[in-house]
Amino acid sequence: MIEIKGVTKNYGKHQVLQGVSFTVKPGEIIGILGANGSGKSTLLSILAGLEQPNGGFFCIDGKDLLKDSKLRNRTLAYVPQENPLIEELNAWDNLRMWYSRGELDKELKNGMLKLLRIDEFLKVPVSKMSGGMKKRLTIGCAMKGGPKLMLLDEPTSALDMVCRNEIYDYFENFRSSGGSMIISTHELQEIELCNKCYILKNGVLHPYIYDGDIQHLIGILE
């Protein structure tokens, strides 16, 4: 069980997050919705250890990941919204930063990297990859070490339908193996993937159940 409790974050007098709390069970996908600038990315940054919160806990099996960075690094995979890959290098060289040669051979043969079909473009430089390839490679890098929780910041924005479906297939696979995900999103398809959704508005997290009424959702976000 993953528990986020009372996370707050201020930038000066501006309170971005006010006591954000929720839980994530194994195999669950949590969707965080919100307008631009609502604090979704800040929340994910705090959970990923990139920013320090002003208060709160982020516990997994009773251990506070905000204080134990080594455990956090092992437990979490953070996938930023933008492409984080090193442009000059090809897929292989990017992966080598994360995996040993042996691990890479194994993963490409019949592991998670095979599942992401990264073996198909190992020698392609990042600068010549499609958006889908970059995202798959990013996920492949982030998943090093078999984390239990993925933090995804708008994972399929700017991807075409085919690429999105490939990514969603992988999410389903990860979920079915007991992995959990927290997704910051605007995409309806992703919302439909989620077991639970929350709307972040004025720094406060509100539970939300998507019933297919897009106008209602837009109204809440506004």
Binding site: A48, L50, E51, K70, Y78, P84, L85, M97, T138, K144
Partner: protein, 429 residues
């Protein structure tokens, strides 16, 4: 978890990908700076005809002979140029004035010299000190002193002949006059004309004992190292905040990221510098670069260069790294670095001798990283040559190499720490 070594290797791989383009740029910049250096060192721009010289005279003001010398110098100042004579009581004052650019040169007239003239033995040379910034003055002074010598001889001859006439008029017999006058004439003419070394010339150098070629070869070598940051700016392109965050989320924080990137960047710069040095040496040995210039570039300026240049390369790499980390956007990076480098190089005396600037500017120029690098190189130069030449040629203050290495280390630490701080801020927001 990402390890430091893995990230460093990735940075080295980036360097390898970028290296061909960087090397081409480096060679182009090296050729341009080399051409400027060649032009400066071999320039005839210091036309003595166009300059007005201030000459210092050091010696006893009360001495008649010295007063006569000064008068002669002033009176022989013909239309080719003008000399301002400034008298100093002691050599330290004259040397300080020379360093500050208040005089172009000074002549040291010792008591021994005056006594030897008075005794007509005339076996002591004048000591003449000049900066090589006014190279022409050395030749001009030689001509002038030769003129003075000729005038002295002619005037003395006239005086002796007048004495002979007076003695005849006074009724002295020829047997008494002729041998004495002949002896006096021979003695005086012999004393003056037999000398091929009317004065000994010493170049105190443009700044603290460096000659023009030495000064500009050091300054242009350093400027070349500065400009190398432009050549390797591609190392900083394509880097993204998302990458920093992605890597931080897996345990490699800002400090380790910067250290790995800086180390790779520095090694790349050092490789380019060493490669250039290698080719300069080769070309010098093959006499494609004239031996004198080859020596200046390959040996004199960058003494024991392969090792000694590391301190400067690491300083300029750290400074470049900090600027490129601080400033965002390709054009902004170029502009910021260019303006800063030109300004710092100018103030630190890379384009004009430091002594041309006001005291305050000289002090600022000296403490800037560019100034520290210059003093370090200057110190290496003196250390290398102190055993080869007389101490008289090595003017200026003592430069402690360990002290300057320490200052360089502090600068490097500040730049790297600053880069870490900036990276940390980028990661957080």
């Amino acid at each position: 978890m990402i390890r430091f070594g893995d990230y460093f290797i990735v940075q080295l791989k980036r360097v390898l990908k970028l290296l061909p383009g960087i090397l081409i740029m480096t060679v182009v910049v090296g050729l341009v700076v080399g051409a400027i250096g060649y032009a400066v060192v071999n320039s005839d721009s210091y036309k003595d005809q166009q300059m007005r010289y201030k000459l210092g005279i050091v010696g006893d003001n009360q001495d008649d002979m010295l007063t006569m010398c000064v008068n002669l110098l002033e009176n022989n100042d013909d239309s080719r140029f003008m000399l301002d004579i400034i008298q100093f009581d002691d050599e330290e004052l004259a040397r300080a004035a020379l360093r500050n650019g208040e005089v172009s040169a000074y002549v040291l007239i010792t008591d021994k010299f005056v006594n030897s003239l008075n005794a007509l033995s005339n076996d002591i040379s004048l000591e003449y000190f000049a900066t090589s910034g006014q190279r022409g003055i050395t030749g001009v002074m030689m001509d002038e002193l030769a003129d003075i010598a000729s005038e002295l001889v002619v005037s003395s001859e006239k005086g002796l002949l007048a004495l002979e006439e007076e003695m005849r008029n006074a009724g002295f017999p020829s047997e008494a006059i002729n041998p004495q006058i002949d002896q006096l004439l021979l003695l005086y003419v012999g004393a003056m004309l037999a000398r091929g070394d009317m004065a000994e010339f010493s170049e105190l150098g443009l700044a603290n004992g460096l000659t023009t070629p030495e000064y500009y070869s050091i300054s242009l070598s350093l400027f070349f190292l500065l400009l190398m940051s432009f050549c390797s700016v591609s190392f900083f392109l394509g880097k993204k905040k998302a990458t920093y965050q992605f890597i931080t989320a897996k345990g490699l924080g800002a400090a380790w990221q910067i250290l790995a990137e800086f180390l790779a960047y520095f090694l790349m710069n050092l490789f380019c510098v060493e490669l250039i040095l290698f080719f300069v040496r080769r070309l010098s040995k093959m006499r494609i670069i004239p031996s004198q210039n080859g020596k200046i570039i390959g040996d004199t300026a960058i003494i024991k260069s392969e090792i000694n240049i590391i301190a400067v390369a690491i300083l300029f790499s750290a400074m470049g790294f900090f600027i490129f980390e601080l400033v965002t956007g390709v054009i902004n990076k170029f502009l910021a670095a260019f303006i800063l480098y030109i300004g710092m190089a100018y103030i630190s005396g890379y384009f004009y001798p430091k002594s041309f600037f006001p005291d305050m500017l000289q002090r600022i120029g000296r403490i800037l990283p560019t100034g520290v690098a210059f003093t370090y190189m200057e110190g290496l130069h003196r250390e290398s040559f102190s055993s080869l030449v007389s101490s008289k040629m090595i003017a200026g203050e003592y430069i402690s190499i360990p002290k300057y290495i320490f200052i360089i280390a502090i600068y490097v630490a500040v730049f790297v720490s600053g880069s870490i701080y900036i990276r940390g801020r980028k990661i957080r927001k």
